[in-house]
């Protein structure tokens, strides 16, 4: 017989999960499913859904991101089934393998960028870099991305921008000078929406 869980039981667990997701403890923010399982318990997905509901009025959400994303759209934890998810390759992916973050549910206004440490040019460079890499199937030579950026931005900003995006985890660079989308792009950018809006913007 399954025991009925009281409010206090979840309140304790929700607090613990919130601490783990908000406070950065490793190189990457958020927490892995396996870490949450250990600290919060096997019903951590249910706990995260409660936390997601509590964060909704603050325009925040708990998000599930797999390290090797097969689905491109951002997944809110409230949409996550509690049984393991089936990946595109037919393998079943356990929620324990995913990483969970707290992220903005809505979007930012251009005027808010300055308060987040970004300027318009930086975001334009990030948009061009991410969109170019998605268009090329996820990776492209650094020189090609730089060439694209130089058409819109001054040279010194291109170089500084790319280094910053790599440092922050939006982009990665391998030994052969190929740029690829890194974990933060998958965690923060709804790539499918980005492409859709890009193609439809201004009636294009």
């Amino acid at each position: 017989m399954r025991a009925r869980r009281g409010k206090a039981y979840y309140a304790r667990k929700v607090k613990k999960a919130a601490h783990m997701l908000f406070f950065r403890r490793h190189y990457k923010p958020g927490a892995r499913g396996s870490e949450l399982k250990k600290a919060v318990g096997p019903d951590y997905l249910r706990v995260l859904k409660v936390l997601d509901g509590l964060l909704r009025p603050l325009d925040l959400q708990v998000r599930q991101v797999f390290e090797t994303p097969e689905a491109s759209a951002i997944t809110s934890v409230s949409e996550v089934p509690e049984a393991p998810e089936e990946g595109a390759s037919g393998t079943r992916r356990s929620p324990d393998e995913a990483r969970y973050y707290v992220a903005l549910r809505g979007t930012l206004e251009p005027t808010e960028l300055k308060y987040c440490g970004w300027r318009i040019d930086d975001i334009a460079a990030l948009a061009i870099s991410v969109a170019t890499l998605v268009a090329r199937g996820g990776k492209a030579p650094r020189a090609d991305v730089e060439e694209f950026l130089r058409k819109k931005l001054p040279d010194w900003r291109v170089r500084a921008g790319l280094e910053r995006f790599i440092r922050m985890g939006y982009l990665g660079e391998d030994e052969e000078g190929l740029l690829y989308l890194d974990w933060r792009s998958f965690a923060e950018v709804d790539l499918k929406a980005l492409l859709d809006i890009l193609l439809k913007y201004g009636g294009g």
């Binding site: 979007t107 318009i120 334009a124 948009a127 923060e188 499918k192 929406a193 913007y201």
Partner: protein
């Protein structure tokens, strides 16, 4: 004998061409399906009986590995096109080209949901910081050399101002100044960084270190006078991975007084 040697040479060249074409796919310079994989496999099979030397067998193995990487790229290509993410790359790149940076920002902001994170001090990190501080070697019996330098408050940032943004602008200004003062040549490091105050001198030295790191200028040693000289580049260095050396230049208060006087 000469005929056999010539045949071997041609066969090796054929394998090297195969490897080069497959590597072009891996480097993103060629489309995966532009490589005639079946033809390559057949050719590698036909050439195999010729190989006797370990170097040739190694070349053969490299060719097989390169072909398998192309097959893997083809598989990823097919997977990519079957996902919801696939859009015509040409169309997308055209859209990126024709849109203004402002329009691209507006588009990106509609798809961007930044992660919320807090960086905090913990008891453990405090303990580690204290341990690190305690283990730092002292700089002489009299205490830190900088103690005599008059304390100047750092410039205050207004609300919403970002230091990195200021840094980039300051770097660009200093690069312009360096180019003007060097007039196509070079300028002595200490002459360039020395300012009216010690704090400003340190600030200039700090910014110059970034100009050098990011390839806007080079730091050299004059072979005759053995003085450090700065040579601005007309354009920042495009190859960031060239071999570099780190140089530590102490900027003490006494040294500043000596150069400023």
């Amino acid at each position: 004998m000469a005929k056999k040697t010539k045949k071997l040479k041609e066969a090796r060249e054929a394998l090297e061409r195969i490897i080069a074409s497959c590597e072009a796919v891996e480097a993103g310079r060629a489309e995966p399906f532009s490589i005639p994989v079946e033809h390559h496999i057949k050719l590698v099979g036909e050439l195999f009986p010729l190989w006797e030397e370990p170097e040739d067998l190694s070349l053969d193995a490299r060719a097989v590995e390169a072909i398998s990487s192309v097959i893997r790229a083809q598989s990823e290509w097919v997977k990519m096109r079957s996902t919801r993410l696939y859009r015509d790359p040409f169309l997308l790149e055209e859209r990126i080209r024709e849109l203004s940076p402002e329009a691209l920002v507006a588009i990106f902001l509609r798809a961007w949901h930044p992660v919320v994170e807090l960086e905090q001090m913990t008891a453990l990190s405090l303990e580690m910081a204290i341990k690190y501080w305690a283990e730092l070697p002292l700089r002489g019996e009299e205490g830190p050399e900088l103690a005599e330098a008059p304390a100047e408050a750092p410039p205050e940032l207004e609300e919403g101002e970002v230091l990195t943004e200021e840094m980039q602008e300051a770097m660009e200004e200093l690069w312009e100044e360096l180019r003007k003062r060097a007039r196509g040549g070079s300028v002595r490091y200490w002459d360039f960084i020395t300012a009216d105050t010690y704090a400003e001198t340190v600030r200039r030295a700090y910014l110059v270190s970034f100009l050098i790191t990011y390839g806007y200028a080079s730091l050299e040693v004059d072979p005759l006078s053995e003085e450090l000289i700065l040579r601005p580049r007309r354009r920042p260095r495009t190859k960031p991975r060239e071999k570099t050396t780190s140089v530590a230049i102490p900027i003490t208060y006494e040294e500043w007084l000596e150069h400023a006087s």
